[in-house]
Amino acid sequence: MSESINNREYRKKVIKDIIKQLHEGKTVEEVRMQFEKAFKGVSASEITEAEQTLINEGMPVAEVQKLCDVHASVFKGSIEDIHKDLDISLIPGHPTNVLKLENEVISNLITERIRPYLDVFPEGDSVVMLEAGLDELSRIHIHYQKKENLLFPYMEKHGITAPPQVMWGVDDEIRNEIKLVQDELTKGIENLEEFKRKVDHLTEKIIEMIFKEENIMIPMLLENLTQEEWKTIYDESPEIGFLIDDIPHWEPEEVLEELKEVQNAQHGLIHMPTGVFKLDELVKVLDTLPLDITFVDKDDTVKFFSQGKERIFPRTKAIIGRKVSNCHPPASVHVVEKIIEDFRSGKKDNEDFWIKMGDQYIYIRYFAVRGDTGDYLGVLEVTQNIKPIQDITGEKRLLSD
């Protein structure tokens, strides 16, 4: 998250600057505008954090405290007040707002389209209706995927690791149980009471998850994430999808010019042993490859993924910089860790998997990436739908129309 770090650095600089000016005798009113410009829409805890960093870096506490008057005049209240008054999850289009709206959809689905039919099951049209309700409920994976791939990475980045892991485990259980009751419903129910109990248990678990998301996860996120991080989450959410239509447009109040400059400065040439790429060429070349690639470096950190048009497994920018063990469901983490261990020790150089997914036949290959002297540089994951390739027969020697 280089941009948010840069912004944090920038804000720290602004604070230092303002403190210096106060020291030189300027009045609160005089520096107020500068502060307002740099910190508008920024969470109070981020300001506190910036101040804390300055203190850690050796600035006397008393100096930093001079800023309190400035906060107070800008925010017309103390830090605690801002915390209480602002419910960010009410801002239309903000990722937490979308999350809550989706939870409403899920809980309505359960109370209106699942439980009533479960009560009278298998009378009348309840079988068909329950089937439809469960189908709809299985879309919950979209909601959970956004959480796991977009929100959890930031929680981890801010040092909150245990709650996402616990939550991900329960998400997996829920997805699994939905599938199980769906299967049972289509294949035939052995024990009616048992089946009803399972669906009941499942819906209970989902309602509990909603409670956890809204009462624990959202407050934790709101306390820790920066405006830029929320913006990234907002921008990347469509990649995974939504349970609601017409997501309101949300634009944080200020996207700093400085941020844009940093991004512009990144254009340049990449010199390789066998040629030279412009950055945009390299990006597009990798995206045009008929396969999806993801690279994890020697420290098990996700460094890069290509963005082909039809990615088989969605990836979001939030995973960049994240430990690979945090990017997989708890149930499969040990498999991933084993592969990496074998690559690192030199025991293996590649490991392949092939799975069926709808109409697609997915070939997932992992390669150890090694330097010239055989030193371990990381893992390259290559994923491809090989169905069209397997379907090839005969020959084609002429140009198609």
Binding site: I160, T161, A162, P163, V166, E208, F211, K212, N215, I216, P219, M220
Partner: protein, 76 residues
């Protein structure tokens, strides 16, 4: 014996760090997640006992009684 109070408005994190015995009692009552490493310092900072009771479906009366039996005065 010193005065022990259980403030239901305080977060579980605050309560348990100030008085670890509270954590033992909560775990015994069924708040098992509290013992998972890393949970108290994160999620616990946003949870109060009444909120947790809703989530875990543990009767507040049972909680009140258990703490009273352990010599706590309950502050609502």
């Amino acid at each position: 014996m010193e005065e022990k109070t259980l403030d239901l408005n305080k977060t579980v994190y605050l309560l348990c760090t100030q008085d670890p015995h509270i954590m033992t009692i909560l775990a015994k009552l069924g708040f098992s997640d509290i013992l998972k490493p890393g949970m108290l310092g994160t999620a616990g900072r946003f949870m109060t006992i009444p909120k947790g009771a809703v989530l875990k479906k543990i009767e507040m009366d049972r909680i009140r009684k258990e703490f009273a039996d352990n010599g706590y005065e309950i502050k609502e």
